[in-house]
């Protein structure tokens, strides 16, 4: 068996589109961890992330001929996964009040948060503590790079609502990152 791990994204995508499941598997191994990390930050749940990444990859396998630029595989996969993630978010029990409250439990406890040893740790804490609705908009905007309209469409709200959530998130993040310094 040849070593597909040496192959470029473009080559693997070409083979996968032709039906080579092993080439698709190589893409999954290469990009899976990033997709899972992205989905975890977006959905706020590692278990949900595992599901939506798998659903996204299964959908991607069927849509490989829609991959425009073979060199942009990761971004293309992330877009498909982000849709599965927002679909799942929308199907959760409506709890709009909770969405706007700050999360009490995050991965790192209060003591750890107080002594975040790096900017990334500090940001991780700040993002984890954001209300779900704000964090989702944040991740889609700052990590996903989607427009307000795209985010609004995926979350089933208006762009005005997205702007509002992002505005609040931005104010919180900037203030808390400054305070950490």
């Amino acid at each position: 068996m040849i070593d597909l791990a040496a192959a470029s994204d473009a080559l693997l995508a070409g083979r996968a589109a032709d039906g080579d499941a092993n080439a698709f598997g190589a893409l999954v191994r290469r990009h899976g961890p990033y997709l899972r990390a992205f989905a975890t930050r977006l959905t706020g749940s590692a278990a949900d992330a595992d599901d939506v990444v798998q659903e996204g990859l299964i959908a991607a396998w069927d849509q490989l001929d829609t991959l425009g630029e073979p060199g942009k595989v990761r971004a293309w996969l992330a877009t498909i996964v982000s849709r599965k993630a927002t679909d799942r978010i929308r199907s959760r029990k409506p709890s709009s009040e909770l969405d706007e409250e700050r999360a009490e439990d995050s991965e790192r406890g209060p003591e750890q948060r107080a002594i975040a040893t790096s900017q990334l740790d500090a940001l991780s804490d700040v993002l984890s503590a954001l209300p779900d609705a704000q964090r989702q908009c944040w991740v889609l905007k700052e990590v996903g790079g989607y427009s307000y309209e795209e985010i609004a469409e995926r979350l089933g709200v208006t762009p005005v609502v997205v702007r509002g959530r992002l505005a609040r998130a931005r104010a919180t993040v900037i203030a808390e990152m400054e305070a950490w310094r």
Binding site: A6, L11, V28, A37, R41, L120, A167
Partner: protein, 184 residues
């Protein structure tokens, strides 16, 4: 709502400005120290967010094998067969065929079998085969392409009844780690 610094621009306005690549240039924003500081902060938290997800991925580089296995099992159920290409049969009540997917797979395997070659995409028309390949850095490209051509002709002759006019091999990629049997 008060603006930032000496301006009437809000955090939202500065975000939009940043999103638009700071174009067209807004002289007032660019001249205001506090606006500049806020823009710098916005840029920083954005790039830190992307860095954070990348770090999350680096810290969790392995995929659960059973998760991977169930993904693979689902995908493998859907065979990308493509068209049925007829094979000749002496009996009118017997129909023999080989799928396009099978032909593409055997063309891929023929190309992969050449040292230092990784096949990319395979395109089949009635009498023409177009293949793109990646060649291991250091291996003479012309020789590799010719070896692929021969291997593909040979396998298509053996396994199909297609009358192939040409096998076009395009080298459009290079890789740097040896494939099995490679010489690097």
């Amino acid at each position: 709502m008060d603006g930032i610094g000496g301006t009437t621009y809000t955090l939202d306005d500065l975000s939009d400005y940043l999103d638009s690549g700071r174009l067209p240039v807004n002289a007032e924003i660019e001249a205001d120290a506090e606006c500049q500081a806020v823009l710098a902060s916005l840029e920083r938290v954005g790039s830190l967010s992307r860095e954070l997800v990348a770090r999350d991925a680096d810290e969790n580089p392995t995929l659960d094998e059973s998760w991977f296995g169930s993904l693979f099992a689902t995908i493998a159920l859907e065979v990308k067969a493509g068209k049925d290409i007829p094979l000749s049969s002496s009996d009118p009540h017997t129909s023999l065929s080989i799928t396009e997917g099978a032909i593409r797979e055997l063309v891929r395997a023929a190309g992969d079998s050449v040292d230092g070659v990784l096949v990319g995409s395979v395109r089949l028309s009635e009498s023409v085969v177009d293949i793109s390949i990646s060649v291991l850095l250091g291996i003479p490209v012309t020789g590799a392409a010719e070896a692929v051509r021969q291997a593909v002709y040979s396998d298509l002759f053996k396994h199909t009844e297609l009358a192939i006019d040409s096998v076009n091999v395009t080298v459009d990629d290079v890789h740097v780690i040896a494939t099995e049997g490679g010489t690097a």
